[in-house]
């Protein structure tokens, strides 16, 4: 890892370079009152002063509707994989979203490798940037704000200057496109100060160490919190659709109007939707919202922790901000752990 600094005013120049050098550059841009990652061809619309985007950058590694296989059904049916290897840059990725991508890498690139995900991931350059929290953010409760890997470049906004960690050769090539200087110790100290002041800005907190939540969950399978949240939940599934670490999906085979060709497509899907566990003859194994919320919470804080040794929540606050019923994992975690804290 190498550290450099450059003047913040050069950010536009940097983005212009990216636009000239890569077929697709995705960056945060304003959309109404919110922000979204979108393809940019004009550096002036990029806005790094944002708290969170509606959807995480996951959408460029595992698109909401992703063709997996194309097929023709004329004489003999023929199926051909559809693997996208176009190179792309995602710039302005928050630490939590970088961590989420690392978690998706763990899931998709190891056991039963997902060829489509791997092809996109290996052709993606990630340029991160630090950020500030709001009342829905709780990154500080579930992760270290200082990310050490999972990016090509990570930028820390120090006011007039940007401090960059360059982790890859590709990242170095990009930084070489603008004037930069080696970062002296003072900037590293400034970064620590910035991180520390960001840590103090969180108002939402999980009361216990998040990795201890599996202990707090013991004997809580029938805890009243599940029924309470189940009462409020509309099973709309917004929480799982905006989540950076959710990756459940459905696969459909859709015919073109010609009825001779079609596409097998992967669609985002999720455990909070009422028919997610429905089987052919009508049994539904999680047929109520309380059981579904309990499942989601366990996936985030226990089941995946057991397998991947990581909490599958980044504290980004997207699910909380978007929930029409104000359901949030912090409240559930604190209700479960309030009886456990020593």
């Amino acid at each position: 890892m190498k550290q450099f600094i450059f003047q913040k005013s050069r950010l536009k120049e940097l983005i212009s370079y990216l636009i000239s050098a890569y077929p697709s550059v995705y960056a945060p841009v304003p959309k109404g009152k919110h922000f979204v990652f979108d393809k940019v061809t004009d550096p002036s619309i990029v806005e790094f002063q944002y708290v969170r985007t509606i959807l995480p950058p996951k959408k460029y590694l595992m698109p909401p509707h992703e063709p997996l296989v194309n097929f023709t059904l004329k004489e003999d049916p023929e199926f051909k994989e559809d693997v996208c290897t176009d190179s792309q840059v995602i710039v302005g990725v928050r630490p939590g979203d970088i961590r989420a991508i690392k978690l998706l890498d763990d899931v998709m690139m190891n056991r039963n490798k997902d060829k489509n995900y791997i092809a996109r991931r290996e052709n993606t350059v990630i340029i991160g940037i630090d950020g500030i929290p709001d009342e829905y953010s709780y990154e500080d409760s579930v992760m270290d704000l200082k990310v050490e890997d999972g990016f090509d470049i990570f930028m820390t906004d120090l006011g007039n200057m940007i401090l960059v960690d360059v982790a890859t050769e590709e990242g170095m090539k990009i930084i070489d496109s603008i004037e930069h200087h080696p970062a002296t110790d003072i900037y590293l100290t400034l970064r620590e100060n910035t991180l520390n002041s960001q840590r103090e800005m969180f108002t939402a907190r999980i009361d216990i160490q998040a990795k201890l939540l599996p202990l707090a969950l013991e004997g809580k399978w029938d805890h009243p919190i599940w029924a309470e949240m189940g009462e409020k939940c509309l099973s709309c599934g917004q929480c799982i659709l905006v989540c950076p670490t959710c990756y459940c999906f459905n696969v459909t085979d859709d015919m073109a109007l010609s009825m001779e060709e079609g596409t097998r497509t992967r669609h985002w899907d999720g455990c909070q939707l009422a028919d997610f566990t429905l089987v052919g003859h009508g049994d539904n194994f999680r047929d109520n919202a309380a059981a579904r919320i309990r499942h989601r919470f366990h996936r985030k804080f226990k089941y995946h922790l057991d397998v991947f040794s990581e909490i599958f929540c980044t504290g980004c606050g997207r699910c909380w901000e978007t929930c029409p019923s104000d359901i949030n994992l912090v409240e559930i975690a604190n209700a479960l752990s309030s009886e456990e804290v020593e």
Partner: protein, 275 residues
Amino acid sequence: MPAITENSYVPLISTIKSVINLTPTEKIFEVELPDGKQLNHAPGQFVQLLVPGIGEAPISICSSPTDNNFHLTIRRVGDVTTAIHNMKEGDKVGIRGSFGNGFPVEEMKGKDVLIIAGGIGLAPLRSVIRYILANRSEYGKFTILHGARTPSDRLFKDELSRWSGSSEINLLETVDHPDSSWSGHSGVITTLFKGLAVDPSRTYALVCGPPVMYRYVILECMGRGIPDKQILVSLERHMKCGLGKCGHCQINGVYTCQDGPVFSYNQVRNLEEAL
């Protein structure tokens, strides 16, 4: 598991070799992979069956790896299964798999095997029944308890009558709702345990049936002293990808498509959502 295609989502185009009508809603499809490829499945595994242009459904393999080609018993319940019910010999389907763990047929060698099958649960168990029959000398006492709703719901009627007349198997049958054609036992499947002699420590109980059946059957098996790790259940879930990713078949932290569908009772005892 060995993949039959290089990309996990690309099915292998295969041919329906024969179709046998079992009941008004169930048929057996014999499927042949192309170019002499073999599925090499383990009894108890399943495949993702694709009807081109319609979609996929997870179907357990009801034949033994010792059989020619492989067989799928399919009940007509949804889009995919209705579409395949309209297909005939020579038509093309897509196959992905085989998926899942299957029954531990090696570990069971030398032991007594007690099969408890309810309804269409007989289909996945037929794979292990046929496997044991093909390797009969390697297994001990072999008992099948089979329950169906009505006499006409009984699957594999020809095979059931062969098994019933065979000295190699002790087949006990019951139906929930007998009619004039039925002179046999009636009542729920657990009533077949009455008077059944079991040597518990050397018995493997293999259970598959409708969700409501498991608790009662497991209690009977435990009551006979069969160790928890030798009570094996095959569970139905909405297996979609078969790769332990899509989440539909997840029971607590376990993916049925990869870690199952066969579980021993001591594995699922503490899985709150399993049974």
